[in-house]
Amino acid sequence: MSAAERVIRGAAALGTGLGLTFRTMFRRKVTVRYPVEKLPTSHRFHGLLSLPIDPETGKDRCIICFQCERICPDRCIHIEAEGKGKERQLSRFDIEMDKCCYCGMCVEVCPTEAIVFVPHYETSTYNRARLLYSHEDLTRAAPKEPIATGIVARRRP
């Protein structure tokens, strides 16, 4: 290939590339100005885990079956219970959110939909100890309005 030919080919290639770049300038912008405007998350988004309060009873729906604790691949859920029979009560329900891998297996196995994902992801802290979510933190993380039951059930086969 002669020098002149190469120059012409190079210029033509540069022209096509730059022409494409300039055409793209007039397309719709894709940048989201995050802290000001936020993208909606899907309703299946794996955000923070929470224990929503049942509006009828005023308590969470946990029946202390330990299934989530057993299935958790990271072993980051810790449940302790007191009493026997009907008097059985949660004395501890902690989730180490720093160890959690947001896989959703606890949500899947829960028979009463006591533990659910909420689409909330802005949880960075200055202190790692604050990522240990106790029962109060988990109920506070749940949205104020009652979560419609059946969202999780429909996802199951």
Binding site: Y34, R75, C100
Partner: protein
């Protein structure tokens, strides 16, 4: 010479010289200003102006370890565009003042992370991104090779949980760090550290 031995009798004991940082001479100015009536106000104003500049141009080190690095790249790319916040990735630790530890850090990698942190100029900040960097995450149990939290080798300022965190979560972590930087008594700390012969802030 064996440094661990006590000095022999008669040998001059060398006093440790205070380390001169770049703003070492400022120490006296800050001290005088601080003692004057109304001087604290001037100092705080200058400080907040400086802190505003520092917080608005956090330059992170381009350095990813594992999965979270992909989300970090996504945060730098077109949709989230971290350049809007003045966060521009630098390829060398000498020009960086923020280190985003993105991903799990193995025991083999830990000394290198530490050395990179030591190569960064002060004041420097560290964001631990994701479960693995924060405490080992999914690799906490039954594992022999992953460090259980990167804060064992470098001091961490902000922890961003998530596996991996969304780019928005990382941006939120950076905003949290900016808030903290804006509240720092930057001048006083640097000046007094220079006076007391310590190595700068932190």
């Amino acid at each position: 010479m064996a440094t661990g031995l006590p000095p022999a009798a008669g040998e001059a004991r060398s006093e440790p010289q205070p380390r001169r940082t770049q703003i070492g001479p400022l120490a006296e100015v800050v001290e005088v200003l601080d003692s004057l009536p109304g001087g604290g106000l001037i100092l705080t104003t200058v400080e907040s102006a400086l802190n505003w500049g520092r917080a608005s141009s956090l330059w992170p080190l381009t350095f990813g370890l594992a999965c979270c690095a992909i989300e970090m790249m996504a945060a730098f790319a077109s949709r989230f565009d971290l350049d809007r916040l003045g966060v521009i990735p630098r390829a060398t630790p000498r020009q960086a003042d923020l280190m985003i530890v993105a991903g799990r850090c193995s025991i083999k990698m830990a000394p290198i992370v530490r050395r990179l942190w030591e190569q960064m100029p002060e004041p420097r900040y560290v964001i631990s991104m994701g479960s693995c960097a924060t405490c080992g995450g999914p690799f906490f149990y039954d594992n022999y090779s992953i460090l259980k939290g990167v804060d064992q080798v470098v001091p961490v300022d902000v922890y961003v949980p998530g596996c991996p965190p969304r780019p928005e979560a990382l941006i939120e972590g950076i905003l949290k760090l900016q808030e903290r930087i804006k509240k720092e008594p930057f001048l006083r700390r640097q000046a007094y550290a220079a006076r007391d012969g310590q190595a700068g802030a932190r």
